[in-house]
Symmetry: C2
Subunit: 655 residues, 2 copies
């Protein structure tokens, strides 16, 4: 399977208005300043060049560098959209600090440099995230270079990556090692693409090749440290409850070589970053076996372990996958970062010949879990993304322990990976809109109002996209510019769409879609107009009967957007409600949320089994048929929880 | 509220045949030998007089004494039913060991004597279970004395209890202390009843009075040990997830004084043992305030936190109550011991004027969770009692960590409180059948084939009970013997029964029940025959709509017995099934289980939403109305899991 397409540079897509454009603008104007401020106020910036005094409360956290990396990356996308000198100055100051802190051999890690002796470096790849932090800093450096042309940060990260090459490539002292938390692989490929230096790709490939080989590097290095890995507290904790019995290191996808992996296991964020990096390596090295392993894990993920909202990784203990068709709605996890990482993996898979099965899963994730993870106001975040919330469960918990389990969006977290991660994804959404294929073809994956620079250079060709997607299935693309020869525009027909009409300059398009992409080949010129009408009706959905948690339940979707019931609109006891899908005709409405934003909503007839709680005393009683008809109102899942804290459900009882 | 009734001495009730009689006989012939053998083969007996060599693997467990106590108690009930010299010799040998190990001041604790220096005793009442172990040994000693007349064990425990009196009664060195795990209170009351020594009651009352007072004893003693309680690993573990924020020590019901408690909190077994001991003290000390606190916690337990099967304590983390109407079916706990302790608390509450609301909850627990917790063969046990089992969840777990979370009955457990506990309850079921009221009245709570010695002495009066209860609602009681004056027989009309007929010697009884007990007053003589016909039909049940986990679901009961669906009878994907209660007419059937036992079953029409798993690939799809009618078969919940390991559900989707 050859890679035949590449994602567009985010600078070639401008989102304007529309849902994605609005979210991206709020990300730029609110979220980016928030995360940059948090990086300082929480000590993450101060930790650079830190002289640690040995007190626990002033100790930098080993993952803080990754937050800096992601925050700068996110800020870089914001800068691509609009110059902001103050923001640039802020970043330059951080970069200066890091460059000053970098050691002569290229090493840079705020935590290790402040808190550990030099000989401790690289001795615990299993747990200590050094390469992971390097990866996020590389991504930040590449994006900042693209956004500003400044290369101090990029140069610094090249020096650091060169150090890694000298250590981990064949012949190096640490050859055979790889990171407990994948991410460095995809970052090295980005660095290779930005600098043209093949050694970074070679190192990414080496990490992929070594992973899961026996003897396990994680075991070897812990024996070197004189520690029995089995006895490290962390490993024991991860192995404690309901872990797939796939042998050691499955938690970190290192139980068997990557090419032998066929299903998602372990920590979900790690699993998806690994897929992304492996897909990159497969594409650039034309590695068919690796591609098939990646695709196989991806397919098993989206077809057996993905919530209808796109959330993945249901176990909060270990932040991990459990087993096929195990998709609890209330006692679940679905970390925001796992969805971000899934988007990144999907983006890379789309390089291997676009396939709407891949894009469908990405779209499901984007319009539901990803958008939900940030408040409409842009300054509060979910770490966990539930499909069923009972507020009492959280009210009973001691506040100190909720943090990342919270069902209310929080301004920040103790381990704060998610806010900058969703922010950098939102900033880079342009990348996800379309990719460039062979022969100058363009594949459009996501429909969002704005414009796409299809061809650059002396004869630029732009597509101006007009649409209210995802609230309407009508999309119009206006060409501006010309092509000298025939070029193919491929338009994605989403998997959820059962009927569509497409016209170019008013003429119906006769071609059939290929893997869900409709080809339109012509010599393009200004004034060409493509109209696509995707039939988009509210649809009652059911889950595969093997998903026991959704048995006897239905969910409501319209296009890619999943709807949910909130207590605010439907009263408490949402589990006492039911709908009969064949009789529940759905009407479109609009509701106004707290911040004044209007959001489409759907109303339909349902019933309440009891109407009201019954008399006190008897917890159980013989069934009485006293169902009370009720008009129910569902709001987009991503908009839930923006009007106070109450019950919420996605899956409703099916009558 | 005055105590007006006392439970019957178990020797006055003989169960013969019938479900309870059969289970009691299997308990005597299989379970008791199993637990006695396990006490030896697992080192529990050897731990007595143990010279510990300091190696972790030979270290006795701090709770082992309690297993010895419960096992002897259970064996004692078996001996009441049938002499068994080998069993007695076995116990006598254990008692001899314990007596030899007892210190001159009366102290006895196998763990402390082997593993800790003398000064460590009584320094960690919070966690170390010394008084709890003493309590179980006292119960064993009392029962063994009653069964055999031998008093070596009883004397030993009196000496030990006297030591406790000298330490914990007012003026004692440890006055103000009480056990982290209640149980000693009810045991001391039993010891008082057996020996007539009021000081034991006084000590029980002191423990109740001190509990929850400020400053908290648990804090005081940990400061004395130089340990900050907040920092003990155990406490931290317990406080970690979703703990009711009721302040420290709520886990052990010591957050506020017992008289101020109004709802169940914390560890469920502790909560129920505390209720039992407090009810005893309230009865003997005529303590109205204490009674009302007990009744209030009991009522809140059974009306807001009890599964339809009678299970209580839904959180496996901390083995504890969560909050009102939180009753998960799959990710739950319902420890067997909690149900045993609930039975014991209920038994004592029945002393305050019988009330079928109390007996109903006990009967629900007995016929469902309690009976289910032992295999039909008598030699395998549940620690956790789920209402919904997905075998894959357990197959994915590492074997070593399942143990007490197992959804398959196991021969024994690492912490093995449950097997001897359910065994002693089963052996003592006679106590639960009836109690003796003022003026020689008899209250019959449970209907079970056998006979009851209503009056002892020169003019004995017996009731011979003929019934197939709980498989039939027809009960006949034959009097044998005479009374000189009028005496009232009170027959319980269970809460689940909506219509009944009662006759004495063929004449209808006109009286109305009082709190669910029907009074029949007469001069009794041989030949008197009371016939009670409780209408017992299969009934579809629903839960209070505030129980979100049962929303849109129904369960099937017949009399006190809850039924469930097993994969064995209904195929996999039980959550894909649904029933329409108003159209699901139920037929009675009989099925044969693995061991040849026949058990009543219920069949009814239902449907499968999908009939079969659908084509691979799409996890979600638009609803199709393709329900396939299916005949479903439900078996008694207590009999589930006796034919291999498969799915099981109690609550079925309501169509």
């Amino acid at each position: 399977m050859k890679a035949t397409a590449t994602p567009l540079d985010p600078r070639r897509v401008h989102l304007k208005g529309g849902l994605l454009g609005e979210r991206q603008e709020i990300n730029r104007s609110v979220t980016v300043p928030v995360i940059m401020e948090k990086c300082r106020s929480t000590g993450r910036v101060e930790a650079i060049l830190h002289q640690w005094d040995g007190r626990e409360e002033t100790r930098p956290h080993p993952f803080w560098d990754s937050d800096i990396g992601k925050s700068i990356e996110s800020a870089a996308y914001a800068l691509m959209n609009r110059r902001d000198e103050a923001l640039e100055a802020d970043i330059d100051e951080i970069v200066d600090r890091m460059v000053s802190a970098q050691e002569p051999d290229g090493y840079y890690n705020a935590y290790y440099q402040a808190c550990e002796p030099p000989e401790a470096r690289w001795t615990n790849l299993y747990y200590m995230h050094e390469l992971y932090c390097m990866g996020h800093l590389i991504e930040g450096a590449v994006a900042y270079h693209q956004a500003t042309g400044k290369h101090a940060f990029l140069d610094m990260m090249c020096r650091y990556a060169d150090l890694a090459c000298s250590l981990f490539l064949e012949g190096g002292r640490l050859y055979g090692g790889y990171c407990g938390h994948p991410e460095i692989e995809l970052a090295l490929v980005r660095l290779c693409r930005e600098t043209g230096q093949e050694r970074y790709l070679k190192l990414a490939r080496t990490f992929i090749d070594q992973r899961g080989r026996r003897p396990w590097y994680f075991e070897t290095e812990s024996l070197r440290r004189g520690v029995d890995t089995e006895k490290t507290a962390n490993l024991k904790r991860h192995l404690k409850y309901f872990l797939p019995a796939r042998g050691p290191f499955a938690e970190y996808q290192a139980h068997v070589p990557v090419r032998e992996q066929t299903e998602p296991v372990g920590h979900a964020v790690r699993a998806m970053y690994l897929l992304a990096g492996a897909a990159d390596v497969a594409a650039l090295c034309d590695d068919d076996g690796l591609y098939h392993a990646v695709r196989s894990v991806w397919d098993a993920t989206v077809s057996t372990q993905m919530a209808i909202t796109g959330g993945i990784g249901t176990a909060s203990d270990g932040e991990r996958f459990t087993f096929a068709y195990d998709l609890p709605n209330e006692i679940t996890y679905h970390e925001t970062c796992a969805s971000v990482a899934l988007m990144m993996a999907g983006l890379r898979l789309l390089s291997f010949g676009p396939d709407t099965a891949v894009a469908d899963a990405m779209e499901r994730t984007l319009y539901n879990t990803i958008l939900a993870s940030v408040s409409l106001s842009g300054d509060r975040f979910f770490y966990a993304n539930y499909l069923d919330v009972c507020p009492e469960r959280f009210r009973q918990a001691s506040k100190a322990t909720i943090d990342k389990m919270s069902a209310e969006r929080l301004p920040w977290f103790n381990v704060a990976c998610c806010p900058p991660n969703v922010s950098r994804l939102t900033g880079a959404l342009g990348q996800y809109v379309a990719s460039e294929g062979e022969g100058g073809a363009l594949y459009v994956h996501l429909y969002a109002a704005g414009d796409i620079l299809w061809r650059d250079g002396a004869h630029p060709l732009r597509l101006r996209v007009e649409t209210e997607y995802p609230w309407s299935g009508r999309i119009t693309l206006h060409a501006e510019g010309e092509t000298e020869e025939q070029a193919v525009l491929w338009l994605r027909i989403p998997g959820w769409c059962r009927r569509y009409e497409a016209r170019v300059n008013g003429q119906p398009i006769a071609q059939a879609p290929v893997k869900g992409y409709l080809p339109i080949e012509r010599r393009w010129q200004t004034g060409d107009c493509v109209e696509l009408e995707l039939e988009m009706q509210p649809v009652w959905m059911e889950a595969d009967p093997r998903v026991r948690q959704d048995g006897g339940k239905v969910a409501l979707m319209c296009g890619p957007v999943v709807y949910c019931l909130e207590e605010k609109d439907n009263g408490a006891c949402l589990h006492d409600l039911a709908v009969c899908p064949s009789q529940a005709e759905v009407s479109r409405e609009t509701i106004r949320l707290g911040n004044g934003a209007e959001v489409p909503a759907l109303s339909f007839p349902g019933l309440s089994y009891h109407g009201a709680p019954w008399a006190d005393g008897a917890l159980y009683r013989p069934v009485e048929e006293r169902a009370v008809p009720r008009r129910l109102l569902a709001v987009p899942y991503f908009a839930w929880g923006n009007r106070g804290f109450g019950e919420m459900i996605v899956w409703m009882n099916r009558r």
